[in-house]
Protein backbone atom coordinates (compact mmCIF):
# COMPACT_ATOMS: atom_id res chain seq x y z
CA UNK A 1 0.00 0.00 0.00
CA UNK A 2 1.21 3.48 -0.78
CA UNK A 3 0.85 7.08 0.28
CA UNK A 4 -1.10 9.63 -1.77
CA UNK A 5 -1.05 13.35 -1.05
CA UNK A 6 -3.51 15.88 -2.42
CA UNK A 7 -3.03 19.63 -2.68
CA UNK A 8 -6.34 21.34 -3.37
CA UNK A 9 -6.89 25.05 -4.04
CA UNK A 10 -10.51 25.17 -5.21
CA UNK A 11 -13.42 26.72 -3.35
CA UNK A 12 -15.97 24.71 -1.38
CA UNK A 13 -18.81 25.63 -3.73
CA UNK A 14 -18.32 26.08 -7.45
CA UNK A 15 -15.91 23.93 -9.43
CA UNK A 16 -16.66 20.68 -7.57
CA UNK A 17 -12.91 19.97 -7.54
CA UNK A 18 -13.06 19.66 -3.76
CA UNK A 19 -15.91 17.15 -4.05
CA UNK A 20 -13.75 15.26 -6.55
CA UNK A 21 -10.74 15.26 -4.22
CA UNK A 22 -12.72 13.95 -1.24
CA UNK A 23 -14.33 11.18 -3.29
CA UNK A 24 -10.96 10.16 -4.73
CA UNK A 25 -9.49 10.21 -1.21
CA UNK A 26 -12.35 7.97 -0.08
CA UNK A 27 -11.56 5.50 -2.86
CA UNK A 28 -7.85 5.62 -1.97
CA UNK A 29 -8.51 4.88 1.70
CA UNK A 30 -10.89 2.05 0.74
CA UNK A 31 -7.98 0.48 -1.13
CA UNK A 32 -5.77 0.72 1.95
CA UNK A 33 -3.61 3.70 0.99
CA UNK A 34 -2.51 6.42 3.40
CA UNK A 35 -4.01 9.73 2.24
CA UNK A 36 -2.98 13.29 3.14
CA UNK A 37 -4.75 16.45 2.09
CA UNK A 38 -3.48 20.02 1.97
CA UNK A 39 -6.14 22.73 1.52
CA UNK A 40 -4.97 26.17 0.47
CA UNK A 41 -6.32 29.18 -1.45
CA UNK A 42 -10.12 29.13 -1.52
CA UNK A 43 -10.10 25.49 -0.42
CA UNK A 44 -9.57 26.77 3.14
CA UNK A 45 -13.34 27.27 3.05
CA UNK A 46 -13.35 23.76 4.54
CA UNK A 47 -11.81 25.25 7.71
CA UNK A 48 -15.10 26.78 8.89
CA UNK A 49 -17.30 24.48 10.87
CA UNK A 50 -21.09 24.71 11.03
CA UNK A 51 -21.72 24.67 7.28
CA UNK A 52 -25.41 24.02 6.66
CA UNK A 53 -25.92 20.95 4.46
CA UNK A 54 -28.36 22.49 1.95
CA UNK A 55 -28.91 20.22 -1.02
CA UNK A 56 -28.23 23.08 -3.46
CA UNK A 57 -24.59 23.37 -2.35
CA UNK A 58 -21.58 21.10 -2.14
CA UNK A 59 -21.13 19.92 1.42
CA UNK A 60 -17.99 17.96 2.19
CA UNK A 61 -17.73 18.34 5.96
CA UNK A 62 -19.39 15.02 6.75
CA UNK A 63 -17.29 12.96 4.33
CA UNK A 64 -14.13 14.77 5.40
CA UNK A 65 -14.75 13.90 9.07
CA UNK A 66 -15.44 10.29 8.17
CA UNK A 67 -12.17 10.08 6.24
CA UNK A 68 -10.24 11.77 9.04
CA UNK A 69 -11.60 9.14 11.43
CA UNK A 70 -10.06 6.56 9.08
CA UNK A 71 -6.64 8.17 9.29
CA UNK A 72 -6.65 10.85 6.59
CA UNK A 73 -4.58 13.87 7.61
CA UNK A 74 -6.16 17.20 6.59
CA UNK A 75 -4.21 20.41 7.05
CA UNK A 76 -5.22 23.89 5.90
CA UNK A 77 -3.09 26.92 5.14
CA UNK A 78 -3.17 29.13 8.20
CA UNK A 79 -2.53 32.48 6.51
CA UNK A 80 -5.08 31.77 3.75
CA UNK A 81 -7.62 31.00 6.47
CA UNK A 82 -6.95 34.11 8.60
CA UNK A 83 -7.12 36.37 5.52
CA UNK A 84 -10.66 35.07 5.01
CA UNK A 85 -11.61 35.58 8.66
CA UNK A 86 -11.44 31.91 9.71
CA UNK A 87 -9.82 31.61 13.11
CA UNK A 88 -8.61 28.74 15.28
CA UNK A 89 -11.98 28.34 16.95
CA UNK A 90 -13.66 27.86 13.53
CA UNK A 91 -11.67 24.72 12.64
CA UNK A 92 -13.63 21.45 12.43
CA UNK A 93 -12.40 18.83 14.92
CA UNK A 94 -9.44 16.82 13.69
CA UNK A 95 -8.30 19.30 11.06
CA UNK A 96 -4.92 20.96 11.50
CA UNK A 97 -3.74 24.43 10.49
CA UNK A 98 -0.16 25.02 9.40
CA UNK A 99 2.09 27.02 7.10
CA UNK A 100 2.65 26.02 3.49
CA UNK A 101 5.86 24.24 4.45
CA UNK A 102 3.73 21.39 5.87
CA UNK A 103 2.63 20.58 2.32
CA UNK A 104 6.14 20.88 0.89
CA UNK A 105 7.44 18.49 3.53
CA UNK A 106 4.72 15.94 2.68
CA UNK A 107 5.94 15.78 -0.92
CA UNK A 108 9.17 14.13 0.25
CA UNK A 109 7.85 10.81 1.55
CA UNK A 110 4.55 10.52 -0.30
CA UNK A 111 4.56 8.08 -3.21
CA UNK A 112 2.25 10.13 -5.40
CA UNK A 113 1.08 13.72 -5.40
CA UNK A 114 -2.10 15.03 -7.01
CA UNK A 115 -1.83 18.79 -7.01
CA UNK A 116 -5.12 20.44 -8.06
CA UNK A 117 -3.82 23.96 -8.52
CA UNK A 118 -6.70 25.90 -10.02
CA UNK A 119 -10.34 26.59 -9.37
Amino acid sequence: MGELTFGVFSSLVGSMSLDFAFKLAEAGIAKGHKVNMWLSGNAVMMAKKGQKPFKDYSHNEKLMKELMSKGMEVTVCEACAEARGYHKEDVPEGMKRASMDWYLAKTVKTDKLLHIGGE
Binding site: L104, G117, G118
Partner: protein, 137 residues
Protein backbone atom coordinates in the same frame (compact mmCIF):
# COMPACT_ATOMS: atom_id res chain seq x y z
CA UNK B 1 14.93 10.29 0.78
CA UNK B 2 17.54 13.02 0.46
CA UNK B 3 16.70 15.96 -1.77
CA UNK B 4 13.35 15.80 -3.58
CA UNK B 5 12.93 17.96 -6.66
CA UNK B 6 9.64 19.74 -7.35
CA UNK B 7 8.64 21.67 -10.46
CA UNK B 8 6.11 24.46 -9.98
CA UNK B 9 4.59 25.32 -13.36
CA UNK B 10 2.64 28.57 -13.73
CA UNK B 11 0.66 28.49 -16.97
CA UNK B 12 -1.92 31.28 -16.45
CA UNK B 13 -1.65 35.07 -16.10
CA UNK B 14 -1.59 36.81 -12.71
CA UNK B 15 -4.41 38.46 -10.74
CA UNK B 16 -7.44 36.91 -12.41
CA UNK B 17 -6.82 33.96 -10.15
CA UNK B 18 -4.79 33.36 -7.02
CA UNK B 19 -2.77 30.68 -8.87
CA UNK B 20 0.47 32.48 -9.60
CA UNK B 21 0.85 33.95 -6.13
CA UNK B 22 0.09 30.63 -4.47
CA UNK B 23 2.66 28.90 -6.67
CA UNK B 24 5.29 31.41 -5.59
CA UNK B 25 4.46 31.41 -1.87
CA UNK B 26 4.30 27.62 -1.77
CA UNK B 27 7.66 27.32 -3.55
CA UNK B 28 9.19 29.79 -1.11
CA UNK B 29 7.85 27.73 1.80
CA UNK B 30 10.36 25.01 0.86
CA UNK B 31 12.86 27.08 2.84
CA UNK B 32 11.23 26.26 6.17
CA UNK B 33 9.88 22.78 5.43
CA UNK B 34 12.76 21.09 7.25
CA UNK B 35 10.93 21.39 10.59
CA UNK B 36 8.54 18.72 9.31
CA UNK B 37 11.22 16.52 7.71
CA UNK B 38 13.77 13.93 8.77
CA UNK B 39 17.45 14.89 8.95
CA UNK B 40 19.00 14.95 5.50
CA UNK B 41 15.72 15.36 3.66
CA UNK B 42 14.96 18.50 1.72
CA UNK B 43 12.72 19.82 -1.05
CA UNK B 44 14.34 21.61 -3.96
CA UNK B 45 11.84 23.62 -6.03
CA UNK B 46 12.13 25.30 -9.40
CA UNK B 47 9.41 27.68 -10.54
CA UNK B 48 8.79 27.99 -14.24
CA UNK B 49 6.49 30.30 -16.21
CA UNK B 50 5.08 28.89 -19.44
CA UNK B 51 2.25 29.77 -21.84
CA UNK B 52 0.28 32.82 -20.71
CA UNK B 53 2.05 32.36 -17.37
CA UNK B 54 4.95 34.41 -18.77
CA UNK B 55 2.71 37.48 -18.31
CA UNK B 56 3.50 37.16 -14.60
CA UNK B 57 7.06 38.23 -15.42
CA UNK B 58 6.20 41.73 -16.72
CA UNK B 59 8.04 44.22 -14.53
CA UNK B 60 6.86 47.35 -12.67
CA UNK B 61 3.58 45.82 -11.47
CA UNK B 62 1.71 48.42 -9.38
CA UNK B 63 -0.66 46.05 -7.55
CA UNK B 64 0.34 47.36 -4.13
CA UNK B 65 -0.17 51.00 -5.10
CA UNK B 66 -3.49 50.39 -6.84
CA UNK B 67 -5.12 47.58 -4.85
CA UNK B 68 -3.00 47.35 -1.71
CA UNK B 69 -2.00 43.79 -2.62
CA UNK B 70 1.53 42.41 -2.96
CA UNK B 71 2.44 42.16 -6.64
CA UNK B 72 3.38 38.89 -8.29
CA UNK B 73 6.61 40.70 -9.21
CA UNK B 74 7.48 41.13 -5.58
CA UNK B 75 7.03 37.39 -4.92
CA UNK B 76 9.14 36.52 -7.96
CA UNK B 77 11.93 38.73 -6.63
CA UNK B 78 11.64 37.03 -3.24
CA UNK B 79 12.33 33.73 -5.00
CA UNK B 80 15.50 35.09 -6.61
CA UNK B 81 16.57 36.51 -3.27
CA UNK B 82 16.51 33.07 -1.62
CA UNK B 83 18.25 31.46 -4.63
CA UNK B 84 15.12 29.67 -5.80
CA UNK B 85 15.43 29.20 -9.57
CA UNK B 86 12.96 31.19 -11.68
CA UNK B 87 12.68 30.00 -15.28
CA UNK B 88 10.73 31.58 -18.12
CA UNK B 89 9.85 29.99 -21.45
CA UNK B 90 11.54 31.93 -24.26
CA UNK B 91 9.17 30.77 -27.01
CA UNK B 92 6.17 32.04 -25.07
CA UNK B 93 7.80 35.41 -24.45
CA UNK B 94 8.38 35.75 -28.17
CA UNK B 95 4.83 34.68 -28.98
CA UNK B 96 3.38 37.32 -26.63
CA UNK B 97 5.80 40.01 -27.76
CA UNK B 98 7.73 40.28 -24.49
CA UNK B 99 11.42 41.18 -24.59
CA UNK B 100 13.94 40.73 -21.80
CA UNK B 101 13.81 44.49 -21.15
CA UNK B 102 10.06 44.17 -20.35
CA UNK B 103 10.39 41.48 -17.71
CA UNK B 104 11.89 40.77 -14.32
CA UNK B 105 15.47 39.65 -15.00
CA UNK B 106 16.87 40.03 -11.48
CA UNK B 107 16.23 41.32 -7.98
CA UNK B 108 19.44 43.29 -7.59
CA UNK B 109 17.50 46.06 -5.84
CA UNK B 110 16.80 43.53 -3.07
CA UNK B 111 20.37 42.24 -3.05
CA UNK B 112 19.68 38.99 -4.89
CA UNK B 113 22.47 37.28 -6.80
CA UNK B 114 20.37 34.78 -8.74
CA UNK B 115 18.92 35.94 -12.06
CA UNK B 116 15.92 34.83 -14.11
CA UNK B 117 16.80 32.04 -16.52
CA UNK B 118 15.34 32.16 -20.02
CA UNK B 119 14.83 28.62 -21.27
CA UNK B 120 13.20 26.75 -24.13
CA UNK B 121 10.20 24.49 -23.65
CA UNK B 122 12.51 21.57 -24.38
CA UNK B 123 14.48 22.45 -21.23
CA UNK B 124 11.26 22.59 -19.25
CA UNK B 125 10.19 19.21 -20.63
CA UNK B 126 13.51 17.74 -19.47
CA UNK B 127 12.98 19.16 -16.01
CA UNK B 128 9.45 17.73 -15.89
CA UNK B 129 10.96 14.34 -16.59
CA UNK B 130 13.60 14.56 -13.87
CA UNK B 131 11.62 15.89 -10.88
CA UNK B 132 9.68 13.71 -8.46
CA UNK B 133 6.47 15.75 -8.50
CA UNK B 134 4.80 18.28 -10.81
CA UNK B 135 2.67 21.11 -9.44
CA UNK B 136 0.72 22.92 -12.18
CA UNK B 137 -0.98 26.21 -11.38
Amino acid sequence: MGAVNLLFVVQRPPYKSENARLALTHAIASQTAEIYMDDGDSVVPIIVFVGDGVLNMVKDQQAMKVYGVTSTESHIKSCLLIDLPVWVCKEDMTRLGLKEENVITDAEDMGAELKTKFVSFADIQKEMESVKHLLFF
